[in-house]
Each structure stands twice: as C-alpha cells, then as structure tokens.
Symmetry: C2
Subunit: 249 residues, 2 copies
C-alpha cells in the first residue's frame, strides 16, 4: 500500500499544482525512503486531500513536485469524539491517542475532571498539545488516514457537559446497568471518559441530568486509556457489523 505523506496546507498550491516539502517529511522522503526526481508519491493535507505528486527537484533541504491529480476524500459520516480525562501517565495518554487514531476517532478533547491529577499550567499545555498532535500524526501516517483527528485544547468537565452538535452523548461508567446498544451509522457521537480514578458519582449524576446516556462497558474494570479506545472500537465494530465500513474512514 502506498505511503502517505502529510504536508501543511500552505505547502500545497492546488491552483498552480505545486508542492514544496521541507522539514521532517523532506528528511523522511529523501534520506529514509531515498525518493528522488521522477518518483511519484502520495500526499495529503490531513484534511481529506489525496494527491499524487511527481518529484521534480530534490534539493538539500526541500523537495519540489507537481501534482499529477488530486481528489477530496469525503469526511466519514460517522464521527466519534472522545472527551478524555488527562492521565497522570503521559505514556498511557499517548497510547490512547495512538490507538484511538488507528481505530478511527474524529476528535479528541483532553478533559479535566474532579479526579484528574494532571492539571498543567498553560505554557505546559502548549507543549503537550504539540506532542499530542505529533503522536496523532504518526498514528495517522501508520494507518494512512486522509482525515487526521483533531485535538482540541483541554476542557473542564463542566464545559464538556455543555458541548453541543452531537446526535448521541454518552458517559461510560461502571455503575451503569444500561448496556451499550447505540445507533451509530452516520451519527456524531460524544463519549466522556474518566481518568485513573474514574468519575465521581456526582459527575455521573450531572452528566445524566445534562442528557448524557450512562452506558456500561462491561463487568471487568477497564483502565482509563482502554475505556477510551474501547469506545472507538465499539463504534468501529458496529459499523462493520452494519456492513458500513466506508462510512468510517
């Protein structure tokens, strides 16, 4: 399967059919993959563009190429957003980002709940966002996603309760008895996922009052990052069962 190379939109001139590749992607193409003049590569802007590009000039620090043809890959009709409590373990949060991206998440909102331990200062948030985006980009490259998941700035639990624009808003919680039969096809779903200590009972109560549906993820306890990736896996599995995988990605 063809490798996919991610360029920022300002590097892609669709009108003049030109691209310029610099930085990490340049390094990867020229030094690792040893691509050169005449080779054809596939690029995306991570926002649905799929373009085949012929390399025309391979310099010391940049590649220039011409777009042979391009198309827009439609955004999947089913979209999963996970508002995920930040975790004490960076490693486990990164793991969630990687697996959720592979499994098809659309948008991730780091969340601060009453039991969230990690609550970094704004300067640290910026650095974290950069790292999170690089993890999601690496995972997108791995699974060749034309739509890279969005990562938004951290939200508070109370702000998460007020998020609008979703067809179905869910809060998985171990005390819930409702099993998770959710109509997913073509819908916009929002899951709130708690951190290492789960949600406080008061939070589950508030979420239910705000119209969130409490769902059970099963009898055994899932770690926070596993609950997050299971939410995405559950939707992927339901779409596959409906024979509707291209609704997905």
């Amino acid at each position: 399967m063809t490798d996919l190379h991610y360029l920022t939109p300002e590097r892609i001139d669709l009108q003049r059919q030109r691209v310029v590749i610099e930085g990490d992607e340049f390094h990867h193409l020229s030094r690792v993959l040893r691509k050169g003049e005449g080779d054809v590569i596939r690029i995306t802007d991570g926002n649905g563009l799929c373009a085949d590009v012929r390399i025309e000039r391979c310099g010391r620090s940049s590649i220039e190429g011409s777009i042979l043809h391009f198309r827009r890959v439609p955004r999947p009709g089913t979209a999963v957003t996970i508002a995920m409590s930040m975790l004490k373990s960076h490693h486990r949060f990164d793991l969630f980002l990687e697996k959720a991206t592979e499994l098809g998440v659309s948008r991730i909102m780091p969340m601060i709940t009453s039991r969230t331990v990690s609550n970094p200062v704004p300067e640290k948030i910026d650095r974290k966002l950069l790292r999170w985006k690089s993890v999601v980009l690496a995972a997108s490259r791995q699974c060749r996603r034309f739509h890279v998941p969005e990562i938004l700035e951290p939200v508070s639990f109370h702000d998460a309760l007020r998020l609008q624009g979703y067809d179905c808003r869910l809060i998985p919680h171990e005390s819930s008895v409702k099993s998770a039969t959710i109509d997913v096809v073509g819908r916009k779903l929002l899951f709130l996922v708690g951190g290492e200590g789960g949600f406080a009972p008061e939070e589950v109560h508030l979420a239910a009052e705000a119209g969130f549906l409490p769902v059970s993820f099963g009898n055994t306890v899932l770690r926070a990052e596993t609950a997050g990736l299971f939410a995405v896996a559950m939707v992927r599995a339901a779409l596959l069962e409906h024979g509707n995988p291209d609704q997905w990605l």
Copy 2:
C-alpha cells in the same frame, strides 16, 4: 472495589480453609497495602475461585490466613482465543497482552507465521513465557479477573490452522470484503492475527481452505497489536449489545 490477590493453587487449602501468602503478593499486601492481622482480603487462584480471607498471622516473609467463605465464579460462556503472531517489538506484544486481558480474552497463543521476524530459541521462549504470564497477571489484577487468560507455547501458523474445538474460526485480513457479522454469544471463537507485515496471501488462502472465515476489520490499516485487541473488543462490544455482559467475565 476490593483488590484481588492471586495465589498459586498450592497456597490454598480449601479443606482446611487455610492460605499461605509469600513472595510478591506477600510484599504487596504487607509493605504496600500495609495489611495486618484481622484484615480481610479477597483472593483467587486465577481459575475462578473467589475467597475472602482473614489474615491471622503476618510474619517476616509470609502471611497466613483463614478462608471465611468462598465460591466458584463460572467460566464465561463466550471465549475468545487469539493466535497472535509474535512481534519484533516486545513492547507492542506486551501491550497487546495487557489490553486483550483487560478486554476479556480467554487464551493467547503466540504464533510464528511466514512473516514473523521474532523466532526465539527454546531457552528464550521459556523466559518470554514467564514475562508474558507476568504481564497477563498484572493486567488481570488491574481489572480483577477471576479467570486469568491462558498463555500457551508458541505455535506455527500451520499448527494454528489445525486447532480444533472452536465454534467459529476467523482470520482478519485487509483484502477481505466480508464484514464481521459474527454470532458470538456463548461461542468459542478463534482469531488468527498476523504480525507487523500481516499474513502472506498464501496464508490467507490456506486459512480459508482450512475453514477459517476471512473478515475485514475496516478500511484503515491497524497495527498488529491493535488488530489483536480489536478482535477482543469487537466480541466484548457484541456481548454488550446483546445485553449479555455476564456471559463475558
């Protein structure tokens, strides 16, 4: 929720209603959790036993206790076995073990396919098995499983094709168009999951000839360990949808 402590069967004398706790579990109980005489703890043999034990003597290197009451947790009616290609990355294989355990796998068979890079000598296999078992035990402790997943010795792909005793045998493969509508409730399922390079086309062909059902896991490429954990997640999701979570664990 009560912590669960795992003892090897020879430490548990159900007739005399006595247990002896040594080694890591002793250390964890006495040094980390600071349990002492009179405290009641919950133990399992990892094979379905659930017993509440009162600590009667806490020595320098062992704890002795008496069993207050015990019951047998029935083995779940639905059982997922994953024959999983060994991976070049130990880290990613361990990750698969941890997540599959949390999500409810019953049995794991490391597998050697034509594209499996890791093919350790027998002495190394023994060491690997020890580590794999400790990963699975740690994950079982985390999610409080009374039935610890089995890890068998590595099998060849050809031996995996001949495995009997399953109601449904599946091989996920990206070239497959069949979506994964599988009847799971109360059934014994076997999935073959390829390694970093996936299966060779010949292997998919042989599996189909041997009666395995090729299934698609979706349009985007999943890493090997993600495919393995997704197989388990898919079954968990299907059981939840059928309102049948206690068939699970």
